[in-house]
């Protein structure tokens, strides 16, 4: 066999590699947007990508005289991909921001790079409290699970729910959700009767749900990442938990707006605490929802809002620095930034670089024939209580 021919093949491929080497544009500001566009978390990636595009359509792609260029990369929510892509974006494309990050492990994998390169890492989705502590260059525009879980814990204890079974995904955000809920719920006099952790990848909820049904709780507390909620509710109804009078409560991830309408009537009456509902009654939100629906033909979820505010934060910071891209100056500009987002008023906490926002208690109801999370109580300016350094 001829090995020479193979080598020529390889040479051809190497030439292809050359062709891929990026061309460097002058005087533009580059944002490396790393999202899961394929695989189980693809819905998160798509929402954020859409929202970023929408914001740039509405507000133009020039800030402080510089052109904004977004480079989208797909990491499939696999942390080693995230790390390699972030590294390549920083080293080869010389990006001024890295942003996105669909899941916590991905955000954590990129943290040391942000520190080393001294560029802001804008987390638009991942929701574990520790993320912002991993690098002084991390800023978050999504949420933390502590924010919504402490509130739903208090609410449940005060509203006649005595016994709760929990079902959470077995990874960092799931554990955060469980711990903060438990802490506040038991402090309020509630009791956890069953605690179940399900694997993050391709979970089958059915056997767990049977166990929950048998333990006869007043409600199940559920945290699964955005995108798995639909599957959960389907199996919840199939196993007859809704008929058994067991309510679903939790942070709003399980009732994500982009899946909610497909869940059917089993979802009616579910009470969750969360940062955003597409039914949020404000002018800013109505405008946002209408524009999003028009552009992409579907309802925006909380991930889309995280992306929308994330890109806005980058714009605001650049306006403040006058287009200067020094990482420390940008982070300083981001600290304390506040505005009226579609979700309500938000601010970047100057101390933790995490988001401060309203948390709403919502109930799933039918509005004009569609299911919506209708807000009925508001907790204003909630900070993340999950930081290890107080």
């Amino acid at each position: 066999m001829s090995i020479r021919s193979q080598i020529l093949l390889a040479a051809g491929s190497v030439a292809a590699m050359l062709a891929l080497a990026p061309a460097h544009a002058q005087d533009s500001i580059k944002i490396g947007l790393i999202l899961p566009m394929t695989g189980g978390q693809a819905s998160t990636g798509k929402q954020i990508d859409n929202a970023v595009k929408l914001y740039m359509q509405q507000n133009g792609d020039t800030v402080a005289g510089k052109k904004i260029e977004v480079i989208l990369k797909d990491d499939g929510a696999v942390p080693d991909n995230t790390k390699r892509l972030a590294q390549e974006l920083i080293v080869n494309e010389k990006v001024n921001f890295i942003a996105g990050f669909g899941v916590t492990p991905a955000a954590l994998a990129a943290a040391p790079l942000a520190t080393q390169a001294k560029i802001p890492e804008v987390v638009m989705a991942a929701g574990t409290s520790i993320i912002t502590e991993r690098s002084p260059y991390i800023v978050r525009t999504s949420f933390t699970l502590a924010q919504s879980c402490t509130i739903i814990g208090d609410w449940a204890a005060k509203n006649g729910i005595k016994k709760v079974a929990t079902l959470t995904s077995d990874y960092a955000p799931g554990n955060d959700a469980l711990n903060f809920f438990k802490q506040n719920f038991t402090a309020g006099g509630g009791e956890i009767v069953e605690e179940v952790k399900v694997p993050l990848q391709n979970p089958d909820f059915a056997p767990f749900l049977q166990r929950m049904k048998d333990s006869k709780p007043d409600a199940v507390f559920v945290f699964v990442p955005a995108g798995q909620g639909g599957n959960f509710m389907k199996q919840y109804a199939e196993r007859g938990l809704d008929k058994a009078g067991i309510k679903v409560i939790g942070p709003g991830d399980v009732m994500d707006d982009d899946l909610l309408n497909g869940m059917g009537d089993a979802a009616l009456g579910t009470v969750t605490a969360h940062l955003y509902s597409a039914a949020h009654p404000s002018a800013a939100n109505k405008e946002f929802v209408a524009a999003y629906k028009k552009a992409f033909g579907q309802r925006p979820g909380f991930m889309a809002v995280g992306g929308y505010d994330g890109i806005r934060l980058i714009y605001e910071a650049l306006k403040k620095t006058g287009g200067k891209t020094d990482g420390d100056a940008l982070i300083a500009a981001m600290k304390g930034a506040k505005w009226e987002s579609p979700r309500g008023p938000i601010m970047i906490d100057p101390e933790t670089r995490d988001i401060v926002q309203n948390i709403y208690i919502r109930k799933v109801e039918k509005v004009d024939g569609e299911l919506y999370n209708v807000e009925f109580a508001t907790f204003e300016a909630v900070k993340d209580s999950g930081k290890t350094k107080k």
Partner: protein, 343 residues
């Protein structure tokens, strides 16, 4: 000439280094200087190449199919990660070998299961072993970090001299050297009488045992060696990325590996290396063009590749170079399509 000396002279002729092979490695080394901004993707290719080399050893030479080769990759990756994380072995090279040995032990133990069946059974058994390990890693998340992965791995400098840098330069040269050394070893193995006996087994196990080749022992040996190679590839992954999470065991990793080997061709060692280059370049190309739908395009290319056939693609690729060579050096010098691919 007796039959024995004929066989040995043939074997020696096969084992001789060809100019083209030397050119291949010089080319690989020169990539380091040609594309200094692409170390990370090149390191990725090297790791995949080493991993594929491992599969080629069992599939291409001994005919053992496997859909669970990620098991050894993952064990190597977690071993290297845990060794570094807990400071048990700080020196990366020693840790690399240790991680390889752990995978090797696992390979030895599971080889008894694998040699029992034929192709379909083997696919199932290897797949099952990888799934088992993945589930175990998930279950013992206090050791493995579960879905979050091992956090906070910090790699010490190689041999105490070369620190891993952000641009991946050290990682690239480290991987290249490891790949080259292990390639030399693999080359030695497949051209030895042991390697030849493996080919005999692949062609016809019954006949091989009739002429006195201890079939099962040979298969156990090569499977164990391949596990060592895969373990090293996994350890390289952890050491160069400072990460290890559940997806090191993922089925996709094993399946991709099979694809890579199919693209490159089995049974001549370079198949894995070339397949890795082609596969990663395609992936990178399509991901750059369309981050959302790249899977579609890569699937399409693979289908087309198989339909058209590798030998024809080779001929197309070689058409222009051969034209030049023919003009310069005459008809005899042209580069032929590999025999194994000729229709």
């Amino acid at each position: 000439m007796t039959a024995a000396s004929d066989v040995s002279s043939h074997a020696i002729a096969r084992a001789r280094w060809r100019p083209a092979e030397i050119a291949f490695w010089i080319l690989a080394l020169s990539c380091a200087f040609l594309f200094p901004s692409r170390y990370l993707i090149m390191t990725d290719i090297l790791r995949l190449a080493l991993f594929t080399l491992s599969l080629d050893l069992i599939l291409g030479y001994a005919g053992i199919v496997s859909l669970g080769h990620a098991a050894f990759f993952g064990v190597g990756a977690y071993s290297a990660g845990l060794l570094a994380l807990h400071g048990i072995i700080n020196e990366p090279v020693i840790a690399l070998v240790a991680a390889g040995l752990v995978a090797m032990v696992l390979g030895f133990l599971t080889s008894f299961l694998v040699i029992r069946g034929v192709d379909l059974t083997r696919l199932m058994v290897t797949l099952g072993i990888a799934l088992l390990l993945e589930a175990l890693a998930e279950r013992f998340s206090n050791i493995t970090g579960g879905t979050d992965g091992l956090q906070g791995i910090e790699m010490q400098p190689i041999l105490g001299l070369f620190a891993f840098d952000m641009f991946g330069k050290t990682g690239f040269f480290y991987s290249l050297i490891v790949l080259f050394l292990l390639f030399l070893l693999a080359r030695r193995i497949v051209n030895s009488p042991f390697g030849l006996s493996l080919r005999a087994i692949k062609n016809n196990p019954l006949r091989a045992s009739a002429i006195g080749v201890p079939v099962n022992r040979r298969l156990i040996a090569i499977y164990t060696i391949a596990a060592f190679y895969a373990g090293i590839a996994g350890a390289l992954f952890t050491q160069t990325t400072a990460l290890a999470s559940l997806d090191v065991f993922a089925f996709e990793r094993s399946a991709d590996l099979m694809l890579v080997l199919v693209i490159g061709g089995t049974g001549y060692l370079y198949g894995g290396l070339i397949g890795a280059v082609v596969f990663k370049m395609l992936q990178e190309l399509f991901q750059t063009i369309t981050p959302q739908y790249w899977l579609f395009w890569i699937g399409l290319v693979l289908v087309v590749m198989v339909l058209v056939g590798r030998e024809r693609i080779h001929r197309w690729v070689l058409w222009v170079p051969n034209l030049v060579i023919r003009q310069l050096f005459g008809r005899k010098a042209v580069v032929a399509v590999p025999e194994s691919d000729a229709p």
